[in-house]
């Protein structure tokens, strides 16, 4: 069972910033190249990156450089290229923070063709 | 120096050498990180230096850490599908070690012109160089040359335009 509940997924294309900021997980919308279109409050606080510093920049290469590899960004690029992306895996963030274990879900909403990165804490 | 623990004794999850095919890039990287040859190179490199017991122990720990780091990388990338990603990672590691060696070399040479040479720094530079040599055979000579030249070029241009202007008055 995914840490991203079905209500969030169903609401995705029309999710408002207020709704995103109310979520208890990280929600990041990115374009097909990885540029951030929406960076929610939870993610901003976890990463200690202000929303205004994140939005417009590339999630994988600039904001979260520890994701810039085949394990993470590679999966995203493959999914975008195939037009289908829904994968969940464990990961650890370490860039300018203490090791932080997380669960990740990379998701491309089929009808709106929008891309989402979901992040939630994970016990070690 | 506090109690020195070998990575081999520290309870680290040791990579499994028998899962690495010796003729794969990961297998060759594993072999490059074997502690025995690195230890031999280190012993030869520092034999003429006047180092204290503590400094020698520190160098040995440094060599052991590098051995562990090389083999941890080999183990992480041991799947056949990882090999295309392993080569640039080795290139990056090589450049990292090159900067390590270069820094010791620079400090050693500046120190030599201004004050008593530092055998500790000479020793570290020698060990860095020896370990660097273990990785070099995994990369093409052209890539090594081009990468180091490019990095040097980048570093030559790091001074901001305003660096001196802001401080000359």
């Amino acid at each position: 069972m995914s840490f991203v509940n079905d209500t969030i997924l169903a609401n995705l294309p029309n999710m408002s910033r207020t709704e995103a900021d109310a979520a208890p997980i990280g929600i990041v919308q990115v374009d097909d190249q990885g540029a951030i279109k929406l960076y929610n409050k939870w993610e901003s606080e976890m990463a200690d990156v202000p929303v205004t510093s994140a939005e417009g920049r590339n999630f994988f290469t600039q904001v979260a450089p520890c994701t810039n590899n085949r394990l993470f960004f590679g999966k995203f690029k493959d999914g975008v290229a195939q037009g289908a992306l829904d994968t969940e895996f464990n990961y650890t963030f370490s860039y300018k923070m203490k090791p932080t274990n997380v669960q990740i879900r990379l998701y491309r909403h089929p009808s709106s063709r929008t891309n989402w990165v979901f992040v939630a804490p994970r016990a070690a | 120096m506090s109690h020195i623990v070998s990575p081999l004794d520290s309870g680290l999850q040791s990579p499994q050498p028998n899962t690495l095919e010796p003729d794969t890039l990961a297998g060759r990287l594993w072999a490059a990180g074997e502690l025995g040859p690195i230890d031999d190179l280190m012993t030869a490199a520092v034999s003429s230096l006047k180092l204290s017991d503590a400094e020698l122990a520190d160098l040995r720990l440094y060599a052991e850490e590098r051995s562990w780091a090389i083999q941890a990388l080999a183990e992480a990338f041991q799947q056949p599908e990882d090999e295309p990603d392993l080569y640039p990672t080795i290139a990056s590691f090589w450049l990292e070690l090159r900067f390590d060696w270069q820094r010791h070399n620079e400090v050693m040479n500046y120190a030599a012109t201004r004050m008593t040479p530092l055998p500790r720094v000479v020793g570290h530079g020698a060990v860095s160089s020896a370990i660097l040599g273990r990785l070099e055979d995994l990369l093409s000579p052209q890539h090594r040359d081009q990468l180091s030249q490019h990095a040097i070029h980048l570093l030559e241009g790091v001074l901001p335009a305003s660096y001196h202007a802001a401080n000359s008055s």
Binding site: T61, P65, L71, F72, Y91, T92, S94, Y95, K96, M97, P99 | S2, I4, V5, D9, S10, L41, A44, A45, D58, L61, Y62, A72, A76, D82, P84, P88, T89, A91, S92, F93, L95, E96, F99, D100, R103, N105, E106, V107, Y110, R114, L118, V121, G125, S129, A130, G133, P141, Q142, H143, L147, S148, L154, L155, G157, V158, L159, P160, Y163, A166
Partner: protein, 162 residues
């Protein structure tokens, strides 16, 4: 603002410099034996930076000092990238990672952050881009097959055994 060797030396001598490394170790739940290795890592990094400050701290060395500091940052950046990959390959492939690579990844990035506070943002962005492209394999220097040239070596000089 010109970066002075004395300013960097003061930053590195501050107990917080080493404490930062050890705090990352504690957060990664490393064993007591590995904590001693982290302590040795912090000590080695501290000594290395102080050596640079001592060697290149004289008047007239400012440009070389700045470039060497940038090289130290790049070295830390490569180190962080490497430990990040090692720990996350473990996590993704096996569901877990050894604590020590995790701790070293966090520690090296924390040290990187301390050093980069003294460097120019634009230069750092160029260096970071180079480091990221290199490890991705997307940098142009690695994207083509090299010709066999026995005369090009790129080998370091001044090896002790030569």
């Amino acid at each position: 603002m010109m970066v002075s060797a004395s300013r960097l030396a003061a930053l590195v001598r501050d107990p917080e410099f080493a404490d930062t490394v050890l705090a990352h170790g504690a957060a990664a739940a490393v064993s007591p034996e590995d904590m001693s290795r982290l302590t040795a890592y912090a000590s080695r990094r501290r000594s290395a930076i102080l050596d640079v400050c001592d060697a290149l701290g004289a008047e007239g060395d400012e440009d070389d000092f700045y470039r060497t500091l940038a090289a130290v940052w790049l070295e830390l950046r490569f180190e962080w990238q490497r430990y990040n990959l090692v720990s996350n390959y473990g996590t993704v492939r096996h569901g877990f990672s050894s604590p020590l690579p995790l701790a070293l990844a966090s520690a090296s990035s924390a040290l990187m952050a301390q050093v980069e506070s003294l460097l120019d943002d634009a230069a750092l962005a160029r260096l970071a881009e180079f480091a990221a492209q290199l490890i991705e394999g997307t940098h142009g220097l690695l994207s083509s097959e090299p010709a066999q040239d026995p005369h090009a070596s790129g080998r370091v000089c001044c090896r002790a055994e030569e």
